[in-house]
C-alpha cells in the first residue's frame, strides 16, 4: 500500500494521499463529536495534524523525493522556530491570565 512504483501510474500517489487526508479529516471530526477526554482529544488532533502536514509536505510538495538537506532545512527550520516561539510566549500568557483574572470576573455572568 505504501509502495508507489514511479513507472506504473505517476498520478496515483496524489489520489492515494488525497484519500488518506480525507480519512484523517473525517477521523478528526469524529473525535470532536464523541466528546473524548480533553487531553486525549488534544493529543489525537495534534498527532494527526502532524501526519497530515507530513503527507502534504512529503507527497504533494515532493519533500520525500528531494535531497534530505532541503527537506530537513524546511521541516526543522519551521518546526524548531515555531516551538521556540510557542515555548517562550506560553509562560507569559499564563502570567497575564493569573494577573488579570479578578478584572475579568466583573463582566462575566458565571458564578465561579
Amino acid at each position: 500500500m505504501s509502495e508507489h512504483a514511479p513507472g506504473a501510474n505517476p498520478y496515483k500517489i496524489y489520489w492515494v494521499t488525497w484519500g488518506i487526508l480525507l480519512v484523517i479529516t473525517v477521523a478528526m471530526l469524529g473525535a470532536e463529536m464523541f466528546h473524548l477526554p480533553r487531553l486525549f482529544l488534544v493529543l489525537f488532533l495534534l498527532a494527526f495534524m502532524m501526519v497530515k502536514a507530513a503527507m502534504i509536505g512529503g507527497n504533494f510538495m515532493h519533500l520525500r523525493f528531494e535531497r534530505s538537506n532541503l527537506s530537513w532545512m524546511v521541516a526543522l527550520g519551521i518546526l524548531v522556530t515555531s516551538l521556540i516561539l510557542y515555548t517562550f510566549i506560553t509562560p507569559e500568557s499564563w502570567h497575564v491570565k493569573a494577573t488579570s483574572a479578578p478584572a475579568a470576573e466583573v463582566p462575566s455572568e458565571s458564578t465561579h
Binding site: 488534544v42 524546511v74 500568557s93 483574572a101
Partner: protein
Amino acid sequence: MESGAHSATMETGWGGGAAPFGASWQKTMMWIFIVTDALLFSGLLCGYAFLRQANSAPWPDRTEVFSIPFIALMTFILITSSATMGSAVTAARLGDMKKALMYVSMTIVGGAAFLSCQAYEWSHLIHEGARLTGPIAGSELIEKGVTPQFTQAFFVLTGFHGSHVLSGLVILIITAIRTSMGKTPPQGVEMAGLYWHFVDLVWVFIFTLFYLL
C-alpha cells in the same frame, strides 16, 4: 565590467560552485520563501495561542459559532484542489501540457470555490455581529460566549490565509493563461504547485488548531 561579473554569477547559479540542495535556484528560492511565509503563520498561530491561553473567560464552543460540516466541506475542497494541482505538476513534468492545463483549471475552480465558502462564512459572521474588534453589543454572539479575542483570532488567521488563497489563485490563473500560450516551462507549474500546496498545508493547521482544538 560589473554587469560581466554579474552574468558570470548568473551562469554558475551559485557563485560558490555547488548546489547544496540539489535543486535549481528557482526551487531553492521558492522553498526559502515558503519557510519565511510559514513563519508568518507560525507567528500568527502563536499570537492566537497567546490570546486563548491568556483569556480568563472560557473559549467559545466552535460548534455553536460555526457550522462544522461547512468547515469540513471547505477542507475537502482545498485537499481536492491540492490533489489536482499535484496531478498538474506531474502532467507538466511528463510533457503533457494539455493535461497540465486541465488539472490547473480544476485547481482554479477548487480555489475559487474555497474562497466563495470563506466569503460566505465571513459575511454570515459579520451579519451576526462579529467585528475585528469583537462582537458588537447586544448580538447573539455574546450569548454564545464569543469574546473580542476570539473574533480577532478568527479574522486575522482566516483573513491572512484567505489572502494567500487569493494570491495563489492569481498565480494559477497566470500559469493557466501562459500554459495555454505554450509559455510555461514544466518548472513553472511546479513552482505554482509548491505555493498552492503550502496554502493547503497552512489550512491543516488553522483547521485543527482554531476550529477543532
